[in-house]
């Protein structure tokens, strides 16, 4: 390495050092620490002497019904939620990108506006809208539904309610999809038209393949987000898992084990299981992406 290169490297490291310090202090060291915790018996009270427990915490995971119940809750909701957060922003972005749509700027603003409302405030507002005397049920009664659902108190309707609440905040997803759609070269559509493709075929053979990186990105973020689903059930149902445990998501259980049950080691083990599950799904998605994600700039 030349002296110039060495000096540049030193300066580069100097400039990046705040991030490195932050990464070490707030990410890497805590991660390593939690991994160590999983082999110890750390609790808040620490009534027993600190000791090495081997794989006991991992063995406990398999015998803990709450782990599996909360994973079932999480995956059930994910199965319902993921298609919505992938498809709805894409469809809305298509509509907003269409030359036939009037008032695009107004709609873009309206769709994005909920995203800038503080999330907790939004959840609390929806809590009132889902109430028996809330706007949603008032509207359903107006349409003739005599006994509309108790959205937040009925195991059948709680997930649809959470999906509706989530869709309200998809403004960012729409913007990402819109940016992707704007980036598709018009020449491709022109060529498709010359080849006789109708609108549906243009969507199938041009738009979707060209948008596949954005869709892939949305799916990855969606998977990570849904596995970490926490704030909505915490605020909406005070973390109780009501109704009947249907909102007792995995991350909520993890939080409770840490801060309510005060079992730091077991909580850390749950966190590492979540990390493993997230990693597994991410790897699977990346592996499969080779088959269906098209990168126009890829060599």
């Amino acid at each position: 390495m030349t002296p110039l290169a060495r000096r540049e490297a030193r300066q580069g490291l100097l400039f990046i050092s705040p991030w490195i310090v932050g990464f070490l202090a707030f990410t890497l060291i805590p991660m390593v620490a939690t991994l160590l915790f999983t082999f110890l018996n750390v609790t808040l009270a620490q009534a027993e002497p600190l000791r090495f427990v081997g794989l006991d915490n991992y063995a406990r995971l398999f015998g803990d019904p709450q782990v599996w119940q909360s994973l079932v809750v999480t995956f059930t909701f994910a199965a319902l939620w993921l298609p919505f957060i992938v498809i709805v922003p894409f469809v809305l972005a298509l509509a907003l990108n269409s030359r036939h749509t009037k008032g695009k700027s107004l709609f873009r603003t309206l769709f994005f506006m909920p995203y800038v409302v503080p999330f907790v405030a939004g959840i609390l507002a929806w809590q009132q809208m889902f109430a028996d005397t809330g706007w949603l049920n008032d509207f359903l009664r107006f349409l003739g539904w005599k006994n509309p659902p108790a959205w937040l108190f009925d195991i059948t309707f709680i997930y649809p309610a959470l999906v509706i609440l989530g869709i309200w905040g998809i403004g960012a997803g729409i913007i990402v999809n819109l940016a992707g759609l704007r980036g598709i070269p018009t020449e491709l559509y022109d060529a498709a038209k010359i080849d006789g493709a109708n609108s549906r075929q243009q969507l199938r053979y041009v738009t979707i393949p060209m948008m596949s990186p954005v869709i892939f990105y949305t799916i990855i973020l969606g998977v990570v987000e849904v596995l970490q689903y926490f704030l909505v059930p915490l605020v909406l149902k005070a973390g109780t898992g009501e109704p009947g445990g249907s909102t007792f998501f995995y991350n909520l259980y993890l939080y409770k084990v840490f801060f309510n049950f005060q079992q730091m080691s077991y909580g850390a083990t749950l966190a590492w299981l979540l990390f493993g599950i997230t990693l597994l799904f991410t790897v699977i998605l990346f592996r499969t992406s080779r088959r269906w994600v098209y990168y126009a700039g890829e060599r």
Binding site: L44, A45, Q46, A47, R60, G63, D64, P65, Q66, A131, D132, T133, N147, A150, L152, F153, D154, I155, A238, G239, T240, G241, E242, P243, G244, G245, F248, Y255, K256, F258, F259, N260, F261, Q262, M264
Partner: protein
């Protein structure tokens, strides 16, 4: 474990004794005897030496029990601010956290090394949930020669755990039946008996035991739909009920069960889950009341704006009878001006009135144990009258009871005459062991109970025997892990 349960039972028994047999109206005051005291207190009784404590800024964490209501907060802040007058140089900062988040918040604060000094009011359950975190007050009591003679020794001993002396008795909240006299009058029914052991006169003139069977019969007559039909009439519409006959205390499945009989989830060995039979009956009564008899609100109705009462359904003024603790005086004025208190009904000929008991605790992580102890004695002593009235807590000192109820009875919006004697009498039927007594994996167990409670309240058509067995198995799995 068994010892702990017995101790919990002993507390309730002794608190009852203390209430009934306490000595003169003296308030324990810290009297320092050790070195290091620095700032003399400004206002202490002239007959006692002035206590001194190192100056410190204390934090008072609320609310693991009552204390979070918007009308309570300004008074608590006022009490906290006045601490500086009694102990110049020191301050007491009141920090309110909603009950729903209080346990998690306190855990987080402790875990991050940022715990408060003083915690309260905290009940038996709150103390049990934070086992291992409380300061042993013994050294401070000895150092300050704190006068405990006004308490029954057994009541003081109740707060002696493996951690040491973790509390000093403060307030008790017996349970009663709260009823709306106007609803009984409108239905042409006798009001429920105020005296324990009294029979109830049914509309046909027959006299029957004041039991849950009788309550069910009355509840059906007092549950009315919008067309004015009661739950016994043909054509009654359970989907348009405007007035409910009965509401149990549904904060905690254990508490709900304890109205039918005292018990504990922990079996004789302290490791095996054994749900008391009376609790199973209570839970089925509640479940059938919601989904079959329609005399009790389902979960969604109880949470609705119309019926929630902003806290407890009885506050909505749409419930004829409800079981609850004395602390509900904080919001019961919303129920109207025609409510009164009656005896808790019996189950299998036995009456059980679940009891809540509150105190204040000092966390062992406090950096200022002496000043925190001064803060404790301040809220339990000088500020206790104000706080007891605020919380609706019956003082443990007999001499203070009548004055307490006199003040409570004058509360704005209360009926002119409330039979507070029922509250005093209910103490004789306190649950022993107490439903909040320590048990293994306390917080985990509460989480499982909450889940099932919610399931019962929101899901019709359940096989309750199977559900109760599933609940038992799940708690057992948590205890075994």
């Amino acid at each position: 474990m068994r010892t702990r349960q017995l101790r919990a039972g002993a507390l309730l028994a002794t608190l009852v004794l203390a209430v009934g047999a306490c000595g003169p109206n003296t308030v324990g005051t810290p009297v320092p005897s050790g070195p290091g005291a620095s700032v003399p207190a400004a206002s202490t009784p002239a007959s006692q030496p002035a206590p001194s404590v190192p100056s410190a800024d204390l934090r008072w964490f609320c609310c693991l029990g009552t204390g979070q209501d918007p009308v309570q907060i300004p008074v608590e802040e006022e009490v906290a601010a006045a601490f500086a007058t009694s102990f110049p140089g020191s301050n007491l900062k009141f920090e309110v956290t909603n009950y729903d988040e209080a346990r998690d918040t306190l855990s987080t604060q402790i875990a991050s090394g940022n715990g408060p000094d003083l915690v309260g009011p905290v009940g038996v359950g709150g103390l049990a949930a934070f086992q291992g975190q409380w300061l042993d007050l013994g050294p401070q009591i000895e150092k300050w020669s704190y006068d405990l003679s006004e308490y029954d020794p057994a009541a003081v001993d109740f707060y002696k755990t493996a951690e040491g002396q973790i509390g000093i008795p403060f307030a008790v909240y017996p349970s009663m039946l709260w009823y709306k006299a106007d609803m009984f009058e409108e239905a042409g029914l006798e009001t429920p008996p105020h005296q324990y052991g009294t029979k109830y006169k049914m509309p046909d003139g027959t006299e029957v035991d004041w039991s849950y069977d009788t309550v069910l019969e009355l509840a059906k007559l007092l549950t009315v739909d919008k067309s004015g039909k009661d739950a016994t009439e043909a054509g009654f519409d359970p989907k348009s009920i405007v007035q409910y006959g009965f509401e149990p205390q549904r904060d905690d499945l254990r508490g709900l069960g304890a109205y039918w009989g005292a018990g504990s989830l922990a079996g004789a060995d302290g490791k095996t889950v054994a749900i008391p039979d009376a609790w199973k009956v209570a839970w089925k009564f509640w479940y059938d009341g919601m989904w079959t008899n329609h005399t009790i609100m389902t979960g969604s109705v109880a949470e609705s704006e119309e019926f929630s009462g902003g806290g407890y359904t009885f506050f909505s003024g749409r419930v004829a009878m409800s079981e609850n603790f004395l602390w509900t005086t904080y919001g019961v004025a919303d129920a109207g001006t025609d409510w009164d208190l009656a005896a808790i009904p019996s189950y299998n000929g036995k009456v059980t009135s679940p009891l809540n008991a509150d105190t204040f605790g000092v966390l062992k992580g406090t950096k200022n144990p002496d000043t925190a102890f001064a803060g404790l004695t301040y809220v339990l002593g000088e500020a206790s009258d104000k706080l007891l009235n605020l919380y609706g807590g019956m003082p443990a000192r007999t001499a203070k009871q009548d004055a307490f109820f006199e003040t409570l009875g004058k509360k704005e919006g209360f009926p002119e005459k409330v039979d507070w004697q029922v509250a005093k009498d209910s103490l004789q039927y306190a649950d022993n062991p107490n439903f909040e007594a320590p048990m293994p994996k306390y917080n985990e167990t509460l989480t499982i109970l909450e889940k099932y409670e919610s399931k019962f309240a929101t899901t019709p058509g359940l096989d309750m025997d199977k559900e109760i067995e599933a609940l038992r198995a799940e708690i057992q799995a948590a205890w075994d892990s």
